[in-house]
């Protein structure tokens, strides 16, 4: 960092952590603190060209190395001097090429600079074709800190800043030091949230505190992978091939399993890699999600950025009562099948209690007094229980299996769309997030007096659609939903999520919202109004930021003076933090 460092002994001072937590330094008139992210232009880490270009280097090493190696043992290798000369020439060539490529990377690195101001993040890049990119901070949809395996070895991380473009990341900074990336993320989130009082009071914006809500044990991730549809596919293929082999007494069918096995192994690997060590936490800056086996990712989705939530349960997961939660986030877009899907996952595999915990984060106000019952009915019930409107009986000619299951329910804040007979799905769309609605009716549906209603949300894995709903109910939902969406938008939180919600001063960040203590083995994280613990904990600066797969230790504020930043809420270390493990 290029800022004055009052602690010259420390290699990287980091944010001041004197126990006052994230609010420190955000006050107007606070003295400029060390380790701040100021408005100066800065570059990414010097080693990053090496991490990015290692594939090119490895390829060169491989090709030339092989040539040279083969030359050693080939004919004419034992002719003495010419061989030695050849080796010398080859080495010189390799070195020259490596230097050239390194120079190229170095030049591109030199010309890539970024800046974070109070309102924008800017990146200038390119040597011949210059590119100046600027993204508004309050338009942030999500921030990812990604560590590919090699970058992880070097302690580097990539920062991705997503706006609602649904395409490539608005800003990608590869690579920064991990602490630097986390510091930058904290700064961007603090400024985007509107919590920063003065733009220049950028002193030591620490990472917002967080509280872990769900941690998925790795055994369950492996179990979920084994119980996935891929396994069913694999078993089916094995049975078919075995049958063919036995019946026709020919071994020729067996080799077809090899590409299949490769594909299945790949699918297993990506599911394992993206579900391993999965943790979800709540912070004032939104939902934090961390996962990864070799490549690790820490994603932050600020409040109100989740456009739709989809909970689904593949057939075999019913044995264990597991569910998966996906979400549409505008910045993530539809994405590539592998990475995009992983990024949109809020819970790769979880029990029902964990589903409710995550749902409570995404939809803090369920809009009903019986959220557990209603969402449970949405998860796996059929019929009209808990306010669900299903397809009428006459629709069974169009949907013989699903007519009882497919249906919808409306709560005060969200629309629940239920579907799927074998693979159960529930889509939850907050009213204020509805982009548009459409009613469809074909000739068969008209004859049976039913309709299809589609909700359009931002691109992502969740595409809520209601089929075969009775005409009157569909029309009522159509106009009612349009009205509810308009109402909800008027009440919805603005882009700068910290600004208008003035917490009473001295307010302590409440425990993560949950849908109350239910019956079915659901442990509440904390009684709603238990006092924060460790209120008078001794002030001690925690160590440097931990790696992203460990939640940073949360420091409760020692003194909640009314002057203390009223917006940045504090999360006390509660007793329920690690209950889910």
């Amino acid at each position: 960092m290029s800022v004055p460092d009052p602690h010259p002994g420390m290699p990287y001072p980091g944010p001041p952590r004197d126990g006052a937590g994230p609010s420190d330094g955000l006050l107007p008139g606070a003295p400029p603190a060390p380790g701040t992210v100021d408005d100066s232009w800065r570059r990414v880490s010097v080693i990053s060209p090496l991490v990015r270009g290692w594939i090119a280097l490895a390829a060169i090493a491989f090709f030339f190395g092989r040539d040279w190696f083969e030359g050693l043992f080939g004919p004419g290798a034992r002719e003495g001097l010419p061989g030695a000369l050849g080796i010398g020439l080859t080495i010189a060539l390799i070195l020259g090429l490596v230097v050239l490529i390194a120079l190229g990377f170095l030049v591109s690195w030199y010309f890539t600079r970024y800046q974070v101001t109070a309102e924008y993040v800017r990146v200038n890049s390119g040597v011949l074709f210059r590119q100046n990119r600027q993204a508004r901070l309050d338009r942030v949809q999500a921030i990812d800190v990604v560590q590919p395996f090699l970058a992880r070895i070097f302690g580097l991380a990539e920062l991705k800043f997503e706006v609602a473009d649904a395409g490539e990341s608005a800003v990608r900074l590869a690579f920064l030091r991990l602490t630097e990336a986390q510091q930058l993320r904290a700064t961007i989130l603090a400024r985007a949230s509107g919590a920063s009082v003065a733009p220049d009071a950028s002193g030591g914006i620490a990472e917002a505190p967080e509280r872990e809500v769900v941690a998925v044990p790795s055994g369950r991730v492996i179990g979920a992978v084994l119980l996935s549809g891929t396994t069913v596919l694999l078993l089916t293929a094995v049975v078919i091939v075995a049958t063919v082999t036995v019946v026709y007494r020919t071994p020729f069918a067996a080799p077809t399993l090899i590409p299949m096995a490769l594909g299945v192994a790949g699918a297993y690997w990506s599911a394992l890699n993206s579900g391993y060590n999965f943790r979800a936490a709540l912070s004032p800056d939104g939902i934090r999600v961390r996962y990864g086996l070799l490549d690790t990712r820490a994603q932050t989705v600020p409040p109100g950025r989740v456009q739709a939530v989809g909970i689904d349960q593949p057939l075999l997961w019913r044995l264990k009562g597991w569910y998966r939660i996906n979400a549409n986030v505008a910045g993530y877009g539809a994405g590539a099948p592998g990475e995009g899907q992983a990024r949109a996952t809020l819970l790769p595999v979880g029990t029902r209690a964990e589903v409710f915990a995550i749902l409570a984060l995404v939809l803090p106000d369920p809009g009903t007094v019986r959220p557990l019952e209603v969402f449970s009915a949405g998860l796996d019930a059929s019929g009209a229980a808990e306010g669900f409107t299903t397809a009428p009986r006459r629709a069974r000619w169009l949907a013989p299996l699903t007519w009882r299951r497919s249906g919808f329910a409306v709560t005060g804040t969200a629309l629940l769309v239920r579907s799927g007979f074998f693979h159960r799905r529930l889509a939850v769309v907050p009213h204020e997030r509805t982009q548009s609605l459409s009613l469809h009716q074909g000739p068969l549906e008209r004859a049976l007096r039913v309709m299809e209603l589609q909700l359009q949300t931002t691109p992502g894995p969740v595409a809520p659609s209601l089929s075969h709903i009775d005409e009157t109910a569909a029309l009522e939902l159509f106009s009612g939903q349009a009205r509810r969406a308009a109402e909800a938008r008027r009440r919805s939180i603005p882009e700068q999520w910290m600004k208008p919600i003035q917490q009473p001063s001295g307010a302590v960040m409440p425990p993560p919202p949950s849908y109350g203590p239910p019956g079915a083995g659901f442990e509440p994280h904390e009684p709603p109004d238990s006092p924060p613990r460790d209120q008078g904990a001794p002030v001690q600066p925690p160590p440097v930021q931990p790696p992203p797969d460990q939640p940073p230790p949360v420091q409760p504020p020692p003194d909640q003076s009314p002057l203390d930043q009223p917006n940045r809420q504090q999360i006390p270390e509660g007793p329920g933090t690690h209950e889910q493990r």
């Binding site: 950025r305 548009s436 009613l439 349009a482």
Partner: protein, 171 residues
Amino acid sequence: MRREPIDPEGIVWSRVSPKYLRVRLIGWFIGSVIYLLIFSIPLILRLAGVWPDFPPLAIAIALPAVVLLISAWRGLLLPRQVRALGYAERDDDLLIRSGVIFQRTLVVPYGRMQYVDVAVGPLERAFGLCTLKLHTASPATNAAIPGLPAAEGARLREQLSSRGEARLAGL
């Protein structure tokens, strides 16, 4: 026009310009002729004796006949399709309807609009029409109103923009 079950109650639909039917008819005619020519190739080659006997005569005749039939059906449907197009501006949202056999009604809240496009093709320009398209953050929102008179299109665009700004809600 009678109220279809898909139309919400109490909506007075603004219809698109009747001139749009002519645009659609011209487009339909050109398309039909091209399709008919393509699918007549086997028949022509057969009658000219270039292909001695590969496609049976029945198939060679049936191909253009089926194309002709489909074209005629689509042509007959066109007037109703154009009449079925409609839009309605409400206080908070815009409604768009379309379709005769497969009907659709779409509602887009003004606050969800990201931008508005007005496009004019050569045929539409000849008739003084334009196509207005609303874009939300969802690419699945297919909110286009074709066949608007140019003045009405401009008015609607301004109206939608100002209403969208007033009710802007980000995403």
